[in-house]
């Protein structure tokens, strides 16, 4: 009987200790509300990470199916749904996407869990031509980024 009690107690304690890690959902809208209201990309990045200094490497970004190549400008036919693919091999804590074409800058923030393969695709809206920036917060505490300029043939925020 004593042994059983001991077992259930330790198991219970273990479950408690493990639970926060496994359901580690982080709502960055609640944690960092100013990120989402910032109008300028720099302000949003600063609100999220406290700095705007990033290392421009280690992150792969493809926008509108045009491979990333610095200096070139990708053109999206429809600003209402621009495909963005981004990935990194860097062990990451968070991945955030910003752009400077819309009234506010932040698009999404991923909280990277232990099962995540950091390889994501989303579709975004852009009202005007602008720049998309993907920032990866590495587990080493450094910020890595990739930037892509985008032309938009038809604005996506007009409805």
């Amino acid at each position: 009987m004593e042994r059983r009690q001991f077992l259930s107690l330790t198991l219970g304690a273990l479950a408690l200790a493990v639970a926060p890690a496994s359901v580690r959902a982080e709502d960055f809208r609640k944690l960092k509300p100013t990120v989402w209201t910032a109008h300028k990309m720099e302000d949003a990045i600063k609100a999220m990470y406290g700095t705007t200094t990033t290392i421009e490497e280690g992150v792969k970004l493809t926008a509108a199916n045009v491979a990333f190549d610095s200096g070139t400008v990708a053109t999206a036919a429809n600003g209402g749904a621009i495909p963005l693919d981004f990935s990194t091999k860097i062990p990451a804590k968070t991945v955030a996407v910003f752009q400077d074409a819309n009234p506010e800058s932040a698009v999404v923030v991923y909280s990277v869990g232990k099962y995540d393969v950091t390889d994501y695709s989303i579709k975004i809206k852009m009202g005007n031509p602008g720049t998309v920036k993907v920032i990866v917060e590495g587990q080493d505490g450094k910020l890595y980024s990739a930037t892509q300029k985008l032309n938009v043939a038809k604005g996506g925020c007009e409805g």
Partner: protein
């Protein structure tokens, strides 16, 4: 929410679509004159066997009926279910699930 999941070489690739208009503040102002009518998905997560495999905070700048692709490894076998939930600005929620193939 539509969820498709495929296991290949130990990595599960998921493609998911949420049905949502993703109305931005400007679109809401144009339509109803009230910026507060804006409504968009603010948070999405996915779990497999009770473990979080995808967790994202989102803004109004995702496309209408946004599509998400993501991958995970180390969890999930064929036949396991990927459960996804979204929450929007007005507090509505949507759910979806897909079997790993």
């Amino acid at each position: 929410m539509k969820v498709k999941a495929k296991l290949k070489n130990g990595i599960v690739s998921v493609k998911a679509m949420a049905k949502h208009d993703m109305v931005t503040y400007n679109q809401a102002e144009k339509k109803t004159g009230n910026r507060d009518d804006a409504n968009f998905i603010t948070h999405i997560s996915a779990t497999v066997n009770g473990e979080t495999v995808f967790d994202i905070s989102t803004s109004q700048f995702l496309s209408k009926n946004p599509i998400f692709k993501f991958k995970f490894q180390g969890i999930g076998a064929k036949g396991d279910k990927v459960l996804m939930t979204w929450t929007d600005r007005k507090g509505n929620t949507g759910k979806g699930k897909g079997k790993i193939k």
